[in-house]
């Protein structure tokens, strides 16, 4: 539809531009005729107009056409006898030939300039496209990595569940009640783990479409934290969890489910990797941001893992003791979620003991309903 319209526009635009420029050139020459115009002047003005036409139309045709018209015009209007064609006067044929050549050459040259301009434009467009493809490929690669890592993480607990349930079915009478209980709680644990993984996968699918698919609603931090606390308590009966909230009730625009997911992942990390049950959850308002931190009192993060912590797969290393429960994915998901909210996430080891992972979320305005 659009292309067709453009074609029609060009079709009419070229002759329109050509005649407009030629007409004005002739008009200017006519105005100047009495006092100033000599043959040279008139020709120069026409050459200028040919140049303008060549630059402003598509293809060579209009430039060349206008060159011919210009030559005729000069002959007709501005050489004696005026308003009459006469190619026989001495010297003029040479002038006209020169003018025609100059006009055509100008036209051809400007055509080439235009070609080059178009070429350059085309090239930058191509470069842009290539850039887009690279970014897309990068994203695709990340998604692929994530998927691979996730399926690895899904397979591990599934294997456990299958093995344990098979054992229970096949050796029903041979297993004593203590072992049975152990196998069953193994299944239960693995299933819980699967559930967590699936929740992470769900989060990824929700954000992979880009930031617009985030459902941001102002949520009171209090309720976000209390969700995290109750989930964490369910998961870790012996967790020593403390919460520090800002004095004022604070509303933060967020996709609550995803931010809870981030915090749960961070608490999981603190407990499973830090190795200590003491965890602190805190929020602090800094200018237009709220900074939320999860701090543990465990063994800290190995220094060489610190900068690739959020790239995923850290704990997939062979030497990692608990490689079955890799949590690197969790962190890369956290990063994606936080950045999708316009915030930043960072990790550091505390000077005394343990690690602290913090992220920021922008607060557009601090709404207070205090009565």
């Amino acid at each position: 539809m659009n292309i067709k319209y453009d074609k029609i526009k060009i079709f009419f635009l070229n002759p329109l531009k050509t005649s407009a420029i030629l007409l004005s050139a002739t008009y200017i020459n006519l105005l100047l005729l009495d006092r100033f115009t000599t043959l040279g002047n008139a020709s120069e003005i026409y050459i200028l107009s040919v140049l303008l036409i060549s630059l402003n139309t598509t293809g060579y045709v209009w430039g060349i056409l206008s060159a011919i018209v210009s030559v005729l015009c000069v002959n007709y209007f501005f050489t004696y006898p005026y308003t009459n064609f006469n190619f026989t006067r001495e010297g003029y044929p040479v002038t006209f030939l020169v003018m025609l050549t100059v006009s055509i050459a100008t036209s051809a040259l400007s055509g080439r300039i235009k070609k080059q301009r178009e070429f350059a434009r085309e090239r930058s467009r191509l470069a842009e496209e290539r850039q887009k493809i690279v970014v897309e490929a990068e994203k695709e690669k990340m998604r692929g990595n994530l998927l691979r890592a996730i399926s690895h993480d899904l397979r591990t607990p599934l294997t456990g569940i299958l093995a344990a349930s098979n054992a229970l079915i096949d050796n029903d009478e041979l297993i004593n009640s203590k072992d049975r209980k152990e196998l069953l709680s193994g299944i239960n644990e693995d299933a819980e783990w699967l559930l967590r993984m699936v929740e992470n996968v769900l989060s990824v699918t929700r954000i992979s479409g880009g930031a617009p698919s985030l459902k941001k609603v102002c949520e009171p931090l209090d309720e976000v934290f209390s969700q995290v606390v109750s989930k964490a308590r369910k998961r870790y009966q012996n967790i020593d969890l403390s919460v520090i909230m800002p004095d004022e009730v604070t509303l933060v625009p967020m996709d609550e489910m995803l931010i809870v997911q981030v915090l749960i992942n961070l608490v999981d990390n603190a407990i499973l990797h830090g190795g200590d049950t003491k965890v602190e959850l805190s929020a602090k308002i800094i200018d237009n941001f709220v900074k939320i931190s999860v701090r543990d009192y465990g063994k800290g993060i190995p220094t060489n893992d610190l900068n690739k912590l959020f790239e995923g797969f850290v704990s997939r290393d062979k030497d990692c003791t608990d490689s079955t429960r890799g949590l690197g994915i969790g962190l890369s998901i956290c990063k994606t979620i936080v950045e999708g909210h316009g915030g930043q996430i960072s990790a550091k080891n505390m000077p005394d003991i343990g690690a602290c992972i913090s992220f920021t979320l922008p607060i557009t305005e601090v709404t207070s309903y205090a009565e």
């Binding site: 769900l202 009730v249 509303l251």
Partner: protein, 234 residues
């Protein structure tokens, strides 16, 4: 303790249906089952169950439709079972008259507790109780509806007028989930609209006054994305 209460389990997934059947039977309930919404309505009218455990994601007539149908003639408590990503439907289920919900996947003990609570509320005849009772008490938390005072361990807590209204509204039906919409409507009037922020900020302030640790409320509990409930009994 055996009881002969009859539970109608509506669930289209046979594995889950079987597991639920096993758990409930083992805990002394009589179990009848339905796999479609249509079947559920028929079973409910022919078997008069004491409680209906209803999965929202049913083929054909969906769970919400079933609630609407049932509520036309039946006051049987309905406990809705929903998946994590069905928050909106959960809210609508409450508005249509569901009594409580439980999110999949859930543990056995949680399920049984919810069933017991729903049965208890049904027996107590909430409406009657709300008329009669002049106070609410849970652990060291007391509300005197006549004197409009709230105390914790004998110490009076000062609440603003709206804060008190919210607390009283919830305490009149302890254990029942009241949706944001219901609370907004009852406290701020019918024109407040759907913006539940003011309610949630008020709640955050109430908790800061009542709860020792507002992040782990003991008296007023949050039902995520749905509303609040006042603690009771169990």
């Amino acid at each position: 303790m055996p009881n002969s209460e009859k539970i109608l389990v509506v669930e289209d997934e046979t594995t889950i249906l079987r597991v639920l059947g096993t758990i409930l039977t083992a805990n002394g309930y009589q179990v009848i089952t339905a796999e479609t919404g249509q079947q559920a309505v028929t079973m409910a009218s022919s078997h008069c169950p004491d409680l209906i455990l209803l999965d929202l994601g049913l083929p054909g007539m969906d769970g919400l439709e079933v609630i609407k149908k049932l509520r036309q003639w039946s006051g049987t408590p309905i406990l809705v079972v929903s998946a994590r990503d069905e928050e909106d439907e959960k809210v609508r289920a409450f508005d249509l008259g569901a009594d409580d919900y439980i999110t999949k996947p859930f543990g056995t003990s949680e399920l049984l507790a919810r069933i017991r609570a729903a049965r208890r509320h049904a027996n107590q005849l909430a409406a009657e109780r709300a008329m009669v009772s002049s106070s609410y008490e849970y652990k060291d938390f007391k509300i005197d509806f006549e004197r409009r005072t709230v105390t914790i361990a004998g110490k009076e807590i000062h609440l603003t007028q709206n804060e008190y209204k919210i607390v009283e509204r919830l305490a009149r039906q302890p254990g029942r989930v009241l949706t944001y919409t219901t609370l907004l409507h009852d406290i701020w009037g019918p024109y407040k609209g759907d913006d539940n922020q003011i309610l949630r900020v008020n709640m955050a302030n109430i908790r800061r006054k009542l709860e020792k640790n507002p992040a782990e409320p003991r008296y007023i509990l949050t039902e995520n994305g749905v509303g609040y409930r006042m603690a009771d009994g169990e």
